[in-house]
Amino acid sequence: MTKTKTNGQASRILIVDDDSDVLVLFSKWLKAENFDVVTVESGKDALAQISIARPDLVVTDLIMDEMDGMALLSEIHRQNPLLPVIMLSGQAKIPDAVKATHLGSSAFLTKPVDKKELISQIRKHLHLAGNGKTNKSQPFGEGIIYRSSKMAELIEQGKAVADGDITVFISGETGTGKEILAKAIHDASPRKDQPFIGVNCGAIPEQLLESELFGHEKGAFTGALSQHEGLFKAADGGTLFLDEIGDMPLDLQVKLLRVLQDFQVRPVGSVRSVPINVRIISATHTNLAEAVKEGHFRADLYYRLNVVPLAIPNLAERPEDIELLLEYYLEKFALRKGEPKKAFSPEALDYLIASSWPGNVRQLINVVDLCATLNKTNIIPLSMAQKALGDEESDLRTLKDAKHLFEREYLISVLQLTKGQVANSARIAGRNRTEFYKLLNAHNLDPSDFRDQAGA
């Protein structure tokens, strides 16, 4: 077994072939493209490596002794249904290709394999799996995980408008990833090496927003102890992302409109305007057209901002992406914590896919983090998923609050179960007694209360 890591960000490819000439050749090709490469000579070794090396994609030969490529593919997908597997065969036999496809193979290539075709297929299937980490020239929206046609269409639109200065307007409910899309557009634009500055217009107090955006001179107002250049100036040459633009006060909308017409900003307290070169991407979760009708938003500004409208679908509108997203964020959690990757049970997965996700991808990330943090085993059961999503949906608590609440309820359940026996409770919770007592203290829980209950 050979393992080579070229850098921490590269996608890891596991190559399985009993021909060492093929292994060294593919390894050479893929390392030159900045992939991490792990090679093994049998299906059995491949299965062992999958749990250790955690590859992002597997390339396997079909004909091998002991375990052939089909058996390996079946076993891989039994354990990791989303792991892309590219099958290679010395013969282009249609029944083999059909069988491999039925078993979930991502692609079926005939040997001798063309280098460009192999790399292209690897890139394609890494991207489809939401794992396009390795790219010398980054693809558009690398961090956006999807397989749905709705998202694919959106990404194509984003890609099409990236290469220019056209003003983009992104709409989407909270948590759909408006800023991530804006950043993807920036990163794919000629301005990518210049600043990307994001500002949430709804999060800054009205009286401060003007000076935050346009800057101010020293002494322009009480508390203006020094000169401040403002976010437009800070983003000069790059992109300014105005999030929740619908929350901008009307009087400031006039000033913003003027900036967009003249491409000059005048800091508060200054008599001189400063030229700026900024691309504007704005976003909102509200219906801005409705706000215009109701007189809360200026029509002229709306039309100036809404040159290219991009609408991000809600998570519930693209259920085919949910499993992919859950896998992706479980993987991220495991990597962050240096722990084995956990998985949702089939029942939990069905439940999560069918859920309404009012908080969209952001809520999904919170649910994954909560489940992965609190679940003691590697398989997250339906009850945990329900609990996590239930807590999330009830009032969208912060992750810290949700964890705290869940932990308390968990401790109560365990104490009720053991009738207040600390030793048993600690064992069930997977903690030693000292740690368990600390947890009880943190939640102000007294085991004797549960013993009393038992005796009552």
Partner: protein, 99 residues
């Protein structure tokens, strides 16, 4: 004998000598297998050559590998001998140019 010039990927320069050397080894193994009648082993070697030759830039090795694989499948000693001789001739004459 005339040289056969083959253009290969410069990135593979450090791998090509090893690849050619492995074919020399294959020839020896296949000649031994012919004596013992181990067609299965010959077929495996032919299959591997077929799968790897083109990737390194040696399409001829892929073609010869396919012929050896098919001949072994049919237990056709004459065809195997002929293809192995052609392989031996080819790798003794091949001269690689990296460009």
């Amino acid at each position: 004998m005339d040289k056969i010039i083959v253009q290969c990927d410069p990135d593979l320069e450090d791998l090509i000598p090893g690849y050619i050397n492995n074919r020399h080894k294959d020839i020896i193994v296949m000649q031994e297998c012919l004596e013992t009648g181990d067609f299965a082993k010959i077929r495996t070697i032919g299959h591997s050559m077929k799968g790897s030759g083109g990737g390194y830039g040696f399409d001829i090795i892929t073609d010869l590998g396919e012929r050896i694989e098919n001949a072994a499948l049919a237990s056709d000693t004459d065809k195997i001998v002929q293809a192995v001789q052609e392989l031996e001739s080819y790798i003794s004459r091949v001269e690689v140019v990296y460009s």
